[in-house]
Symmetry: C2
Subunit: 395 residues, 2 copies
């Protein structure tokens, strides 16, 4: 380590309006990497000279150029310019040469970054650049906002993989479905396109027993975003009922689907499913599979992110086990009314929930506790007449 | 009418990307008029030459310059420029000279407008300008979107005053309050600032009996927006219990508050309230005041917009009487749980709602019907961790 690197960085100046604007733009540009970059984070870079944007780029593919390098590569001459990036430039050679070298070689005058590189033992690339005379400002914003932008990446860096996202469509009265076993789309076409885009950005897609039995879902990303690697289907099957013909297990090249069952069922189920899936044995708790143990299994397989696609029972189990890091809530402008299935039932069992029971008011309520401290850090988005609200666990 | 005015306008060309951007900007700039322009609509104008914005203005005050005139007045020379405006320029002299004259005098080459002037007998200002050689493109967008931007204005033009907005704060499980009469803020500080800003944009603020009895609210706009005229408090008081000391009736210069009661109570209540309020007699229906009759009374007094500030019983009555045009829904990231007060109770009485009653699933449900066809046309906004969803009645 060079002696200069030991100097503490100067106290950060607050970002200017232009700085804020360009950092926000870098974050936005970075989102184009959805589905192509994991386990790397989505990163965008903007190069500005004389108040004009002269280049924009994003980290477009795992193993490919980082955003900063891609932006600089698009310019004949970036000397004296300011480079904005949504993540501190890396100073380590991984799949690609370090960004810091490219920045120095391009004679960039100033680097402004939003999120710090997590867990860098040598100090991040910012420190490396500062010690070589480049003006570096950052990080800006808060850890909560950085994590919200790239939750799987930051939680994995903190040893908390896999990050678990839960997708729910709810009515104005907080229901996920009409009662009586009826099925209905609460949300509109535009929402469902976004729902199909979400799986592209995660390593695995998780569904409960009732959902695969009822829907036989494909669990592929079918939206505008084509994932670099299709997400791995993870199916719960405590009783060992799955057959190799399940659509989620078909036509998969490379990584196989994962089926979680009990130790008692595992060998028999693996024989039946053959090479179409990897069966993993998970302990039982309270009449269901131990979801925390399943997550540990997925972590052991290198998965950093899982999206729960359904259904309601799995959703409540994940919430109660405190395993959910993010909620994608699609709020539809409909009221389900009597007999509906509540998304967040009070008490232990959804079927025992009765909002009209006055004696219940004073009881402790698990669902209330569950959402203590949750925050909305990403802006809501309208899809048709539905609203996507993204809620992140506070920490 | 000049003969040229009888020519049909040319078939509209689709707006370019620049057109769309500048119209959206005009709409956004127009919103600065919130609280200052009613019964006029909020209107913004943007002047562009050579791809650069050279002026922006909004209709800033009822009786003052329209947005187009204000934008042109800020320029020494607008010749050959394009004027974007969120509402078709007026061709009639009202409080101010017609905008069309100012546009022609400034030698604007092209006018692009978003919403048409409603109910113009002579054809709108667009037709007037076209017949004088100005290129005019518009309207663009849909009636639903125009109405969503200035609902009171467009509904009044269609003979449907007053426009009624309902503000509700709901939890993720669709509750407006904990049970047992407990009171709690579901939403955070940032939402409450927006809640205080909303009344500035309406003519009247409506509250039910329980709310004024419990809260003795001031019903003033206390946010960043200072209204040109403070909204008129409208209090329901079927039993005639109000006293002149109620805070909503204090310190009002000009228009007095309005108190609705029964014919039997009206004279006695007016004596008690004296000059602090105008008591109006309203028929009774189903044990409450006839809200449609109250709205007709408010329409007779020239009110074009009313915001219901609470409480839950009034909200449900307004919804059931099909009187609500807009719902401002502040969704908070909390779960109220057992015993909570549902915002949209199934069936007739909130206290009889029980989501767990399986036999109820097949029953007809008024709340479900109520929201058929409602749409979200304005983008949701995040206030802290809360999300404001704006829902408009479909039509």
């Amino acid at each position: 380590m060079e002696r200069a690197a030991a100097k503490p960085p100067p106290p950060p100046a607050p970002p200017s309006d232009l700085d804020r604007h360009c950092l926000a733009r870098a974050v936005e540009v970075g989102r184009r990497g959805w589905g192509r970059v994991q386990p790397n984070p989505m990163v965008g870079a903007v190069v500005v000279r004389g108040g004009e944007v002269i280049a924009e780029a994003h980290h477009a593919e795992y193993g490919g150029d980082h955003a900063e390098v891609a932006a600089l590569a698009s310019l004949d001459d970036a000397r004296g310019a300011t480079l904005y990036t949504s993540l501190e430039p890396c100073s380590h050679a991984g799949k690609t040469p370090p960004c810091t070298e490219a920045i120095r070689a391009a004679e960039i005058a100033r680097v402004v970054f939003w999120a710090p590189e997590p867990g860098s033992k040598q100090g991040g690339g910012g420190q490396w650049l500062r010690s070589r005379g480049v003006r570096v400002d950052g990080p800006f914003g808060t850890r909560g906002d950085w994590v919200a932008e790239n939750p799987a990446f930051f939680l994995a860096a903190a040893g908390r993989a896999p990050y678990v996202a839960l997708k729910l469509a709810v009515s104005l009265d907080g229901m996920i479905a009409p009662g009586g076993g009826k099925r209905a789309w609460l949300t509109g076409r535009e929402s469902r396109e976004e729902v199909h885009r979400l799986p592209a950005g995660v390593d695995g897609v998780l569904v409960g027993t009732r959902t695969w039995k009822a829907d036989d879902p494909m669990l592929t990303a079918r939206g505008a975003a084509v994932p670099r690697l299709p997400p791995v289907p993870v199916l719960l099957d405590r009783r060992g009922d799955l057959s190799a013909g399940a659509r989620a297990l078909q036509g998969r090249s490379g990584t196989r689907g994962i089926v979680a069952t009990t130790a008692a069922q595992a060998a028999r189920l693996q024989r039946r499913l053959g090479r179409s899936a990897d069966v993993v044995a998970v302990p039982e708790v309270d009449g269901g599979l131990d979801l925390a143990a399943l997550m540990a299994e997925l972590r052991g397989r290198g998965m950093t992110s899982v999206l729960s696609e359904g259904g309601g029972i799995l959703a409540m189990s994940l919430l109660r086990d405190d395993l959910v890091d993010r909620l994608y809530l699609f709020a539809a402008p409909v009221v389900v009314g009597k007999g509906g299935v509540p998304a967040f039932p009070a008490g232990a069992a959804p079927t025992s929930a009765c909002a009209a029971d006055p004696g219940a008011a004073a009881e402790s309520d698990e669902a209330v506790r569950l959402f203590k401290g949750w925050k909305s850090r990403l802006d809501p988005v309208r899809f048709g007449s539905d609203t996507l609200i993204v809620l992140d666990r506070g920490d």
